[in-house]
Symmetry: C2
Subunit: 244 residues, 2 copies
Amino acid sequence: MVMINKSALVYDDLMQKIDAEVYQLGTYLPSENQLCDLYGISRETGRKALATLAENGYIQKIRGKGSLVIEHRQYEFPVSGIVSYKELAQKLHIATENVVYGYDPEATLPIAAFASLGVDLTEEPVTAIKRVRVIDDEPDIIDKDYILKSVIPDVPRKAAEDSLYAYFEDELGLEIGYATKEITMEPANAEDRAELNLDPGAYMAVVRSVTSLTDARAFQFTESRHRADKFRFRDFARRQRKPM
Amino acid sequence: MVMINKSALVYDDLMQKIDAEVYQLGTYLPSENQLCDLYGISRETGRKALATLAENGYIQKIRGKGSLVIEHRQYEFPVSGIVSYKELAQKLHIATENVVYGYDPEATLPIAAFASLGVDLTEEPVTAIKRVRVIDDEPDIIDKDYILKSVIPDVPRKAAEDSLYAYFEDELGLEIGYATKEITMEPANAEDRAELNLDPGAYMAVVRSVTSLTDARAFQFTESRHRADKFRFRDFARRQRKPM
DNA sequence: GAGTGGTCTAGACCACAGT
DNA sequence: CTGTGGTCTAGACCACTCT
């Protein structure tokens, strides 16, 4: 049983009701004062739940009117926010397979690949894992993960075959905090062509990311290489106040 | 003179001091109680500013310790959040040129292109604008904008040559709210090759977006086509609580 | 124990929409 | 004028870190 706070409970409840179309697209959620009565909370607590819904693209708050339910497309294969591959596949009801084709618990971090993400580490010992993601019997994605041994000394091969995030969070009790990721387009290399059965001249969408714990220790470096024709990235963004 | 609220003022001040390295990477901001004294605000107001800094990747809050300044890479050419091309070019001190090569105030929205973003409009009258972005004397990006006439009846060609966002916000007083965008990789078409001088077989990074006002009216549809070798997208994301 | 952030409250005042 | 969201306050209690 997961213990969370009131505003998160309200958030979850409203989110589920939006997904279930109890609150339909184009209609308004109960007003902030009504939420206070409905859930027995103070107004600021309800506002926090609404703010998170707005941040995640579920609603648009309109002053004088209410919280309008808007078109929402958060989870979209294959990348969006920090969600594990396994979580995504479950949420989207996609049948996938996960093949570990490389495992080296005594490797070194290839720093050059992550230089543009602000990594300034030197030769760090890592556990290196290579996996192919198979979707509808077709290999589409290569994931190369490097996990710092200074933070996580041991990553069993079994964890790579199941889910690294489940291992970090459920087994080790670590809290994933945030990630910086970078998407570029690059020609397929020999390894891409071999693992994904691609023709020469093929292009790849490459997502490199650095993931940190809630105590700000970077611990996981990932290079995720996607077949160009299967790649799709969705993003929801709000307008910041204008720069000065 | 722009009138904003206290938490936004504190946010701006802290952000600028982080950028100016008054608060350096790896150090802690003043504690929440200290911020109260420093700015003469209540704790919740300061917390709001800190929450926004955390959201935007400036800091990581660590319970019992403080607000740690972390590696930050928010603005990165050419897409990230909702920032206008002109704002980005200014922020990054990049010399760019903006060539309008198509302008049709009596066009129709090509709905098929935006179907995957959840657009279910029918033949809507739009102002259609085609622009090429030239960076370092090299044409890199094609932007095709379609602006609904039902929301903005008239978009002068001059606005397209300068900045559409400046026109919408400063001239018309509209408030941009949010956008949904989708990144895919597609082969270059004849128009791409002609405008950007590409070889046959070239690939493009295509960013399609739907932008809405703060009252949730979608009004702008954009297809932004980037040379594959110049494309780079950076994203900062926080881990959500685990799905149930 | 002292200091940090995390959460929640009850109340206040303001700006905006719709009648 | 009423109801909506936007902002701010002063105080409370809790969980965690560090000494």
